[in-house]
Chain length 318, copies 2
């Protein structure tokens, strides 16, 4: 895993993934007394940054690869399903049965085959491994894969150039964090192209394995596997490949509550006119309710949210 893989991924993504805008809003800044810049990955193809890593990995497979498999809470799965379809490969996506309906529906609409499992009683790794063996599929892991991290790192390349255009040379870059693929890729890209910009991971309370692992110096596991609305980022522990990168390059991790994520969704609706899912709103929540610096950049990592959840965020906080 190195920087040249990120620039190579950027070339493969060109014309397929979107260069997402870095948004800001005068009234949001005024209300919170700081400058907040939001990297709107909810506007990415398939509605989350995951398409970057998925396209990077799928487009790096040898010619003649017939099919791929991914396990996913739904955003990685959507990215892999669409990237595979556009490469004329089949895609099998192993998902928890309590994933948001919109994510399951979209994966099927992209042409992916969905295999549901019970998060409490079944092991997705075992299910995936068995399917790969039986059907000759190539596994594309959600974060512990060098090409996936390289793809996510292209967001960091874009932030480096957009921050420079906005005259920002030093600030924290808050990143919504599950296994750490987006955070690690972004940290690598920024370390080379915008060394004054420091990544900090953001997680939901109760699923702060990365924050605790960074503080402790080694990988720690979450005790719970369910219990937050931030479905996209409820991973059991930091990745083997992502953690060493973040240990070296990232600042201390931040943690926000589910309620703060919902508030950030309502604020993004009102001030930025973008749709965020709970797990895609935690970095904005941290930017508004935790971070104390005058300027901050945050990722708005995804916008695949069931309408009822979004309505409930608006009803409570808009």
């Amino acid at each position: 895993m190195n920087l040249s893989m990120i620039t190579a991924a950027a070339k493969r993504l060109s014309g397929h993934a979107r260069v997402t805008p870095l948004l800001n809003a005068p009234l949001l800044d005024a209300a919170f007394g700081k400058r907040v810049f939001v990297k709107a990955e909810c506007l990415q193809v398939t509605g989350s940054f995951k398409f970057r890593g998925a396209w990077s990995a799928v487009s790096a497979l040898p010619a003649g690869t017939g099919g791929v498999l991914a396990y996913s809470s739904g955003n990685h799965g959507q990215g892999v399903a669409l990237a595979a379809a556009r490469h004329n490969m089949t895609a099998v996506i192993v998902m928890p049965s309590d994933a948001p309906a919109v994510k399951i529906d979209n994966i099927r609409a992209y042409g992916g085959e969905v295999v549901l499992y019970d998060r409490a009683t079944e092991d997705r790794d075992a299910i995936g491994a068995a399917l790969c063996a039986a059907r000759g599929l190539v596994l594309i892991k959600p974060f512990d894969d060098a090409q996936v991290i390289a793809g996510q790192g292209t967001m960091g390349l874009e932030i480096a150039s957009q921050a420079a255009a906005a005259g920002i040379t030093a600030c924290d870059v808050l990143v919504c964090c599950g296994g750490g693929g987006l955070s690690a890729g972004t940290a690598l890209a920024l370390s080379a192209h915008a060394p004054g910009l420091r990544v900090r991971t953001v997680e939901p309370a109760g699923f702060d394995d990365m924050a605790r692992s960074l503080a402790h110096g080694e990988r720690l596991r979450n005790s719970a596997t369910t219990g937050s609305i931030c479905d996209a980022i409820l991973t059991p522990m930091p990745g083997e490949m992502t953690f060493p990168i973040l240990k070296q390059l990232a600042g201390p991790g931040l943690v926000v509550t589910d309620d703060e994520a919902m508030q950030a969704m309502a604020l993004a609706f009102a001030h930025l006119r973008i749709v965020l899912e709970p797990g895609g709103a935690v970095a904005l929540a941290a930017a508004l309710f935790r971070d104390t610096s005058p300027t901050v950049i945050c990722s708005a990592s995804g916008g695949n949210v069931d309408a009822a959840v979004f309505q409930s965020a608006l009803a409570r906080y808009a």
Copy 2:
């Protein structure tokens, strides 16, 4: 009013207005059997394209101008209020008392002074003229102003280059239409920079003055002044300056229902992850429910919507 004013406006807007993305979504295209591209002006500064025209007009005023006045259902007013504040001018915005709360609140937050009037019994032109005379303010009309049309035309310049990048050389460009400023400016820009792209105006049923005027060959008035949720585009009749431009350059106007606008809001939420207000969703509605061509571009002109209205669109159609 000529093309060089649009390119001059683009220079003045650079670094102040945002180049908004041209979005599309594979699943939206699949569901409707066509390619739909959406110019996301809801992501523009102040949440609508109106900031373009406002900045263009305010930045063209002579040095030493103390203040400006605008009458507006709320989007032009937000654009003028922020543009004036950033030029250290005062801004007085004359608004109907039934304007969406979010628009009134935002104008005040941008530093604008709001003067409310009753749409049924009072004349905004008279109120505005009296205030301009008494306080030495310069009137910035919402569409019948050459610098305003020039500013809105910068959206057309962007569409021309974004369409070319997407390989689109001929298609209709559907534009949400009130008085016709955005439509006219865009039509002028496209006629020079992308002559295969033809503007068609889109209006809500009952407020189709532009469609009827284009069909008839002269300016006709709406009989109603209220009665649609598309508050942003309920103008009484086409502009004196905008109509001749559209008569020469635009195709036949399109008309959609309020319900179709609400459906388009729900589809934009689900597939594009952007927030649209009803009047900003009529062009997308026409693209999906009226237009029959294989490829279409539409403006998503604004996203300043009260949360209750947005929730109701989701509850009914998402």
